[in-house]
């Protein structure tokens, strides 16, 4: 056992430290600032998160020498963790910025505080390498989200959404915890690496079936967090009822972090070579992921076709997106596994920007008009051409049509599936994206082709929104064009370090 070295251990929790400082500053500002000035807290929150992300990228990038387990094996410091942590930080920061003018939320310090804490949880989740930390991180991330979903106490829908989310969420947490405790019971250890080592050794004599039960329970728990069908029932109601910025946040940050955890957990605790009683455990959970992927893509895409409310439509679309990403998880089974991990990371990064862009426009629109039905977007291209362009790019990217980043995101995932001999799954994904195209196009059709009621009235766009949405739009296009190469290389590096440590 190496002696504890504080300075060397700090980079592993750099994000947590940065976010803690941010949250203290936010808390203090909330006390001292006057009501009229509290919207500035958004800038402070965003600055804190972007700064943390920047510092992590500039000074605390993991190298071959520094990566490894830290803090008593609780967290692992590697490229994958850094990447997903940066995704969470950027997602949190952008969410803070697009909340700034939202009624009630924009001027309350506690909102920003809760967002910061939830982001902190997401960062812990993406680096967790111990069962205790897995559960702790997930709860730190999710409990603030229950609060946020019910943030508009006087609004019945918001309260209902918070309640539903809480009930389903705690139920799923219980199932997950049961699975985790079974694993602990079988192996007597909470560290993922020790667990894998023990299960691979001769000392491990537990029957295969209980292990598979434990895996199933854990996958069900994760399935809830990433809103994969058939564990998606909370998603539409919560997405619709929660204040839109909260929906935006929970649709990207908690999903991305949960995918990071799913990949790390599955690969570390049940590595490719592990066989119990001669049966390859990995095939079990990758097949499970393939089934979830198929069900999510069907449920998400087909029900999204019938939606009238844009938030509900985006909710079902996010279920479908979870399905596409699960194709990557299923592809972890064979030769395509490195591409699969990189593909998942890339997909989550581009999905974070794309979905926040779409939600940003929705927030802006419903702020100005108080409406959020798809039909209400009629004539947007005449009222605010730039907003319509931003929304179009976001939707095309979600649909996987080339100019946006989504095309390459899907390309990497499907490519990984083909490499892992899951051509049928890639085929299915491609066919389902064709279905998805229809409901995204409907929105675009409303914006450009149909006539709205108050055609001539431009929608007021404040400076913050203008800049945030413009930058995010450009990032989405860049991720689909010039920036692919460096970002994907980075993701590949993350994938390779993960497999090197197994």
């Amino acid at each position: 056992m190496q002696p504890f070295d504080l300075l060397a251990s700090l980079p592993a929790i750099a994000a947590a430290v940065g976010l803690t400082i941010t949250s203290i500053v936010v808390l203090a500002l909330d006390m001292f600032l006057k009501e009229s000035q509290r919207r500035n807290i958004a800038f402070v929150t965003a600055a804190g998160m972007f700064l943390t992300a920047g510092m992590m990228l500039a000074f605390w990038m993991p190298t071959a020498a520094t990566e490894g387990l830290y803090w008593g094996g609780m967290v692992r410091f590697d490229m994958l963790a850094t990447m997903f942590c940066v995704i969470a930080l950027l997602g949190g920061g952008i969410t803070a910025l697009i909340t700034i003018d939202v009624d009630k939320l924009g001027r309350s310090g506690e909102y920003y505080l809760i967002i910061t804490v939830s982001t902190l949880g997401a960062c812990l989740v993406s680096s967790a390498s111990d069962l205790i930390m897995v559960f702790l991180g997930l709860e730190t991330m999710t409990i603030p989200l229950y609060v946020l979903a019910a943030f508009r106490r006087d609004d019945k829908k918001s309260a209902e959404s918070g309640m539903k989310y809480f009930l389903f969420g705690s139920f799923a947490s219980a199932i997950l915890l049961y699975g985790l405790s079974l694993i602990y019971g079988f192996t007597g250890s909470t560290n993922l690496y020790t667990i894998a080592e023990y299960m691979g050794s001769d000392a491990f004599t537990v029957n295969l079936v209980p292990v598979l039960v434990a895996i199933t329970l854990i996958v069900v728990g994760f399935g809830f967090k990433i809103s994969a069908a058939p564990f998606h029932f909370w998603t539409p109601d919560v997405y619709e009822g929660a204040p839109t910025p909260v929906t935006a946040f929970l649709s990207v940050v908690s999903k991305a972090a949960s995918f990071a955890l799913l990949v790390r957990f599955a690969l570390t605790a049940f590595p490719p070579a592990l066989a119990i009683n001669g049966a390859e455990v990995q095939l079990f959970w990758t097949n499970l992921a393939a089934v979830l992927a198929v069900v999510s893509m069907i449920v998400g895409n087909l029900i999204a076709l019938a939606q009238k409310n844009i938030k509900r439509m985006l909710a079902y679309s996010s279920i479908a997106q979870a399905g596409y990403t699960l194709i990557g998880v299923a592809a972890l089974a064979a030769d395509g596994r490195e591409q699969a991990v990189a593909g998942i990371s890339y997909y989550m990064l581009m999905y974070m920007f794309t979905n926040l862009l779409a939600f940003g426009v929705v927030i802006l629109y419903s702020n100005a008009t108080g409406k959020d039905d798809i039909r209400d977007f009629a004539g947007l291209s005449r009222r605010s051409p730039w907003m319509a362009i931003a929304m179009t790019i976001a939707l095309l990217s979600l649909a996987g049509v080339p100019p946006g980043a989504g095309f390459l995101g899907k390309f990497f995932l499907f490519q990984a599936a083909v490499l892992s001999n899951l051509t049928w799954l890639a085929l299915f994904g491609i066919l389902m994206s064709l279905v998805a195209l229809y409901y995204y196009l409907i929105v675009i059709k409303y914006m450009y082709v149909d006539k709205g009621e108050d055609e001539e009235q431009a929608i007021p766009v404040s400076g913050t929104y203008r800049w945030t949405l413009a930058v995010v739009t450009i990032v989405v296009i860049l991720l689909g064009s010039f920036a692919v190469q460096p970002i994907f290389n980075w993701a590949m590096e993350g994938a390779q370090t993960l497999f090197a440590s197994l």
Binding site: L396, V401, V418, I430, Y448
Partner: protein, 522 residues
């Protein structure tokens, strides 16, 4: 040698995007500036594409003015453009038709009525960029990206500025093409993954050298399935009977310039794709499937002509005539002789000119009368003699009158299919029948509009042609006569490339002279 500075091809490709960006910042109200920025961009692009033609070395069968940048090296994907005998003339056709299309929209009624002029021209330039991209890129993934991008502006052009049932037509167009492209995406992912690169020349070189091979043992083996994946996408675009049903709807509902571009360029993306990708990448499958595809093409020729004759809607009539004409092009390609393919290439240009011209004429009549019904016209020659004279040339060119461009294309195609080693003589005979039918329906079209008595009151005082209407029709007439009288300068550029292509696909019968060596395709 490759990456020395900026290739002219790259410049031509991205100029429309530059114009697009400038246009984005011109205020909506400045209608004049918007129009002339769009026109200026398309004219400069056209001029540069002519410079490109002037610098093109026709004797060299390989890609020229190549530009290549790595994009995703681990997957073998990169920006890779270049021109050769197959695509050079298509680029020029695109830039030419786009200039015509933009100029012809200047006083379009529908734009004034529905407004949003700027958006219209933005979509036009976006479309131009994407179409040039489809023709010049040599990387499968980037090709697919451009192929998809062409859908978006066309969808809006039809959906916003189209006729009564525009949304239906736009969605049908989008879904048909998208369904085809999904199959193509799957096939090209498989090809690229197996080959380790998505660069088409490298894949073809690998197939030639035997390092990459897709087995073909029977009509539904790997190579056949890949072939069909690409083929269906291209066949929908062309369109080949029985996949043509989106075309009449899209044509009838599209605004005039939309129809012109659709007929002039977008359909050619399909037939170009067949020559560029299908033949060299899947040579055995191409030979094996050739008779079946030729059969569909011939059915299309007759069917298109037949249905066209029965139409009372002018636009529908021209649309079905496209189905017939495109059948010729496909027949020429799958004859697998260099004469046939060269004929197809020149016929793509001819069809762009003649059918584009027909749609312009129909559009001009529609602007004046607001109906597309043939019965509403008659005796227009007396009211608009200039339009009548121009229309006569265009109609004759479309039906393949010797001395005009259409004849050159159809004649060479028939010549090529006659000498084909993979197709029987029957195809040629039936296709030749198509030319006769074309004469019937085209003359019917001309007669019912321009001939006869000027008996309808509304037709007596039709406004004269505007300056821009004359400006778009004159180049079309000039080209129709020029290609008809002196086709060599237009056909020579494709000589060398087509020769080497045919040598790759049908190795033991490089020229028609070696006919007895038939042993292909059993």
């Amino acid at each position: 040698m490759e990456n020395t500075g900026l290739s002219l091809v790259t410049v031509v490709l991205f100029l429309p995007l530059v114009g697009f960006s400038i246009l984005l910042f011109i205020p909506d109200a400045q209608s004049r500036n918007i129009k002339y920025t769009a026109l200026g961009t398309s004219l400069v692009t056209f001029a540069l594409s002519l410079v490109m033609w002037a610098n093109f070395d026709a004797a060299n069968p390989a890609l020229q003015m190549v530009q290549r940048w790595e994009w995703l090296p681990q997957y073998g994907i990169g920006y890779y453009v270049g021109i050769d005998g197959l695509n050079m003339i298509m680029v020029v056709l695109t830039t030419f038709i786009m200039s015509i299309g933009i100029l012809s929209s200047f006083n379009a009624h529908v734009i004034q009525e529905r407004g949003r002029e700027k958006l219209y021209y933005l979509f036009m330039l976006l479309l131009q960029w994407a179409m040039i991209g489809v023709f010049v890129v040599q990387d499968l993934i980037i090709f697919y990206i451009f192929w998809e991008v062409t859908l978006v502006p066309m969808y809006f052009l039809v959906g916003i500025w189209g006729g009564e049932k525009r949304v239906y037509a736009a969605v049908k167009f989008f879904l048909y093409t998208m369904a085809g492209s999904i199959l193509m995406l799957l096939a090209l992912l498989y090809v690229g993954t197996q080959a380790g690169t998505f660069a088409v020349p490298e894949i073809i070189a690998g197939i030639q050298a035997g390092t990459i091979s897709f087995p073909l043992d029977g009509l539904f083996s790997t190579q056949s399935i890949l072939f069909l994946g690409f083929f269906i996408a291209f066949a929908i675009k062309v369109p080949i009977w029985p996949l043509h049903s989106w075309l009449p709807d899209a044509h009838v509902q599209a605004p005039t310039a939309g129809s012109v571009i659709l007929a002039g360029v977008l359909l050619k993306m399909g037939s170009y794709g067949m020559i560029r990708f299908l033949l060299p990448m899947f040579p055995e499958a191409s030979v094996a499937w050739a008779p079946i595809i030729a059969l569909l093409a011939v059915i299309g020729i007759i069917y298109g002509a037949w249905v066209s004759f029965a139409q009372t809607d002018m636009k529908k009539l021209v649309a079905y005539s496209s189905v017939s004409h495109m059948g010729f092009i496909v027949l020429g390609i799958f004859a697998m002789t260099s004469i046939g393919i060269q004929g197809s290439i020149i016929q793509m240009v001819n069809h762009g000119i003649s059918t584009g011209g027909l749609f312009l004429i129909v559009g001009m009549l529609y602007e004046r009368r607001h109906t597309k019904d043939l019965a509403a016209f008659g005796g227009i020659w007396k009211a608009m003699p200039l339009l009548g004279a121009i229309s006569l040339v265009v109609v004759l060119s479309s039906m393949g009158m010797p001395g005009l461009n259409g004849f050159i294309g159809e004649f060479t195609i028939l010549l090529g299919s006659m000498g084909s080693t993979v197709l029987g003589i029957g195809f040629t005979v039936v296709a030749a029948l198509g030319i006769i039918l074309a004469a019937i329906y085209m003359l019917n079209f001309f007669q019912r509009i321009f001939m006869g008595e000027l008996d309808k009151e509304e037709n007596k005082n039709l406004p004269k042609l505007e300056w821009n209407e004359i400006a778009v029709l004159v180049p079309i007439v000039v080209l129709a006569i020029w290609i008809g009288l002196q086709p060599a300068p237009f056909m020579n550029p494709s000589d060398a490339t087509v020769e080497s292509l045919v040598a790759q696909v049908v190795p033991d019968t490089t020229t028609v002279a070696q006919l007895p060596e038939a042993g292909q395709g059993e």
